[in-house]
Subunit: 530 residues, 2 copies
């Protein structure tokens, strides 16, 4: 759906949206000469379809409708689309191309099987395949298997960029009929590559490997549509094969996903500058680094908002980080505002002990100050909570959760540390001060507080959370992995009890197979507490 | 899905959840004697099914799997369930019962057709049919048509109560084979009714009306499962037929939906008391009335938080309302806190004019004070924004939008007035002071401000919003209904531009066919601005 972005969600229910998409398709078609261009768009007929347009000679010469519609995880395609029914093979010059869209090739018996059985030598797949950690590895492995299963070249073309929670990692690739990745474009980067391939081996491969003949058109008997498009021009002279872009390591990959997602959210929503509350802690430090990479250091404003509880070191660390990054930096103390709130509430709170109320007040004063800067100067507020905190509700609604985009909300705390160290080593210097990396994490909302007063150590918390959130494990299953039952119970109770907070959280980049957004849809009114 | 609540959402992806539901089913079965009891539950086989258990003699004697799975509007059943394939007719004593679940009978050719063709005299439908304005009328009309289409009695049994955004309106009914509603239980109220019916006319009707014979089993050839359960006991003596509960008027119906939704959200989440910011305006006044009805006046706390801009009348009106309702009432002035924020921001704001920043600061101070009361005393904060405001973003994120439940977020302003007048007439006295009903609405965030400085009159705004949000109309279509093009453009731009705010709003009761929640799923990053 290159024309509409993915997922267009309920925009698809608007007739004027589909109309505009068709208009755009026609205007693109008019620009296309004798080459063959394939574009994803929404096709209207009796229903709407998730479709590919094959354009040549100034017009749409054929269309293909997606057959397998995903309706799980972040996908809701049954909400909108009718299912295509016909695999498509296009003869283009000497080559037969099978057309597929995204999910189609994730099924071992998807339309590529019928297309190959109908002679397709190259299976083309246009995708908006949402990123999560290391997904491209799984994807390339799957494509290689599919290619060798049916003995056809696979050309996988993937979107890159961000939309709300989702980021798409690109990494388009060309895979030989033997399953070898011969070309890979970079991840998280728009890129064009020219590849020259030799499809003569396809026929020979199929003589040697009877599987595709056996399969024949079993899955789509007689259904494959076959068309021939006249090819008038020879291919552009190969400008040298697209290189095999080296795969990034895990930290680099995740870091770039976060940068891409943040850049696109900020820019596509029309913001130029962002503002971040810098506590001197690891989370806000990492977010500032990501922001500086995403929108440029001149567009990042850091603000330290010390209370009387904040240590001197915290403000120092925040300032050092800001200096290292070269971003604008301000200090706004919050103690007078805090006192004015306590004064106003004194008639109702008289005689009561200070508790989480006063802790939250401080976090909320900070949130309000950042929002005031946002209102006055048009900055987007980036929040700094990580997935470990967001899961257990160790964050203040309308406080540190206040903002437009939650950059690291899908990054567990242990990964926050890994990414921080990665960034420092990438830059070859401690941009994030070493002290930030080694001091015990603290919200600094009461004297002497550390995260570990309320939470298990992150090395224990994170795997419990991952088992519960990403794998939907029961308490029993998690305990069997070697965790203390009381701890598991407590962690899960915290996760369950804080759904209402997450419901009001800003979106953030999805980097795990199960983010705390449209990926995990839980009722708030829910008596299934373990 | 009486055992799990509806919709269980991603709890369904947890094996331990499904297990617990089966355990509960077995424990219910053990309580069942020789009567026939039908219970909605999640059935696990190779996949999971949305199912009905037929229980008699202490065990589950048969199950039926829902055939038509809704996946639109607020429904996501394809995300979870496999589709049932077999209509079911159960012979119970002398009577043949066809079993269906909710969506099944919304299809004219649903399983009730095959079941009737297989001899069913009574079609039983167990439903969790989410409420929206006047839906029960449409539903009864549909059921009447289905009953006379197939010449069978229909027993429609609907859930009541609230879950997050959804409220279910009950109104279970018995409809004769001629389509006459002979019995209706009250809306928004758990109730039990006993009905004695005569099914002898069913056979005669079918002799006279050949349609069902013609249809035969066209839609499910030979697929209907037929079982016989031994009926050992005679039916309980009819305690007098369940009465035909009189249908409520539109305002009463909506008011009761809001009361039910609020009651269930507060109680099911374990809260006892709620707190509301009372501005002296119509929205917060109505919310206070709904809250008093929902959780009892002793559990409602009203707080007026005047600024220097607030008129004396506003605080007076808030106090009068609180007195009329008999709820706890406090006044917390916000001017000192406001000054302390301005002082803290002075170094950054020096020389700049006051603007929306300062307006939002006031709204956010109020939000923070309510949240402080929430934290200190365990109150749930009810927010007071209406659908007109929420649609165009005429609300402050983390300000008046801060809270756990947004009671009237799906109620347009014009309906807010109607409901307020309804409530006063219900009580036979001006609980909401007359002055509140006639003064021009104002956010009172700057001197002399009224809503109509920024928004078209609500009589114009509301129908534009309804056309755009509920009907997905284009600008052209709305203009053709007689609205000024510039106004329509401006309103739609406001709706589109404020998706990010709605994403962070608390849930509230859905009363229209398209609420601003899981019902309307729009990307924030969205360049389709008209």
């Amino acid at each position: 759906l290159a024309l509409t972005g993915y997922p267009p969600e309920d925009l698809l229910l608007r007739a004027d949206f589909c109309e505009e998409n068709e208009k755009t398709l026609r205007s693109i078609a008019r620009e296309v000469g004798e080459e063959l261009v394939i574009v994803g768009f929404v096709r209207r007929d009796d229903f709407i379809y998730n479709s590919a347009a094959l354009i040549t000679g100034g017009k749409v010469a054929a269309t293909y409708d997606k057959i397998h519609l995903p309706n799980y995880a972040v996908f809701d395609e049954y909400r909108y689309f009718a299912r295509g029914e016909r695999p498509l093979v296009v003869t283009w010059g000497d080559t037969r191309l099978g057309i597929t869209i995204c999910e189609d090739i994730w099924y071992p018996d998807g339309p590529h099987v019928a297309e190959a059985a109908s002679g397709a030598e190259v299976i083309i797949n246009i995708s908006a395949s949402p990123y999560h950690r290391r997904k491209w590895l799984q994807r390339e492995r799957m494509i290689s298997t599919r290619a060798s299963d049916v003995g056809a070249w696979f050309l996988f073309c993937n979107m890159t960029g961000g939309q709300d929670e989702l980021v798409f990692d690109g990494g388009s690739c060309f895979v030989s009929e033997e399953g070898e990745v011969v070309s890979r474009l970079p991840l998280f980067q728009e890129a064009v590559g020219t590849v020259t391939i030799d499809t003569t081996k396809v026929f020979r491969t199929r003589l040697h490997d009877p599987r595709i003949r056996e399969e024949s058109e079993a899955f789509f008997p007689d259904a494959t549509e076959r068309i021939t498009l006249r090819k008038k021009v020879s291919p552009p002279a190969a400008k040298g094969d697209a290189s095999l872009s080296p795969p990034p390591g895990e930290e680099e990959e995740i870091f770039r996903a976060l940068v891409t997602g943040t850049h696109d959210y900020v820019r596509k929503n029309g913001f130029r500058k962002v503002v971040i509350g810098l506590s001197g802690g690891i989370d806000s430090s990492l977010v500032a680094c990501i922001a500086a990479e995403a929108v440029g250091r001149k567009n990042v404003v850091g603000v330290a908002m010390p209370s009387l509880i904040s240590s001197r070191e915290s403000v120092e660390d925040a300032r050092t980080l800001a200096d290292n990054l070269g971003i604008e930096f301000h200090v706004i103390p919050i103690w007078d505002i805090f006192d004015s709130f306590k004064d106003a509430l004194e008639p109702l709170f008289r005689g009561l002990k200070e508790d989480v109320t006063e802790e939250n007040l401080q976090a909320r004063i900070r949130g309000m100050l950042l929002m005031a800067l946002s209102n006055k100067f048009g900055y987007l507020v980036l929040t700094t909570g990580n997935k470990s905190e967001m899961s257990v509700g160790y964050a203040t609604l309308y406080g540190d959760m206040a903002g437009g985009f939650a950059v690291i909300k899908d990054v567990y705390k242990t990964m926050v540390y890994r990414l921080a160290r990665f960034y420092n080593s990438l830059k070859g210097k401690p941009v994030i001060p070493e002290r930030v990396l080694i001091k015990p994490p603290s919200a600094e909302l009461r004297p002497g507080q550390t995260d570990q007063d309320s939470l298990p150590p992150y090395e224990i918390l994170d795997p419990i959370l991952s088992a519960y959130i990403e794998e939907d494990c029961s308490i029993e299953e998690i305990v069997r992995r070697g965790f203390d039952r009381q701890t598991v119970r407590r962690v899960i109770a915290m996760v369950d009890g804080n759904e209402y907070k997450r419901r009001q959280a800003p979106p953030g980049v999805r980097i795990t197979p199960r983010a705390l957004g449209k990926d995990r849809r839980m009722p708030i009114v829910n008596r299934f507490f373990r």
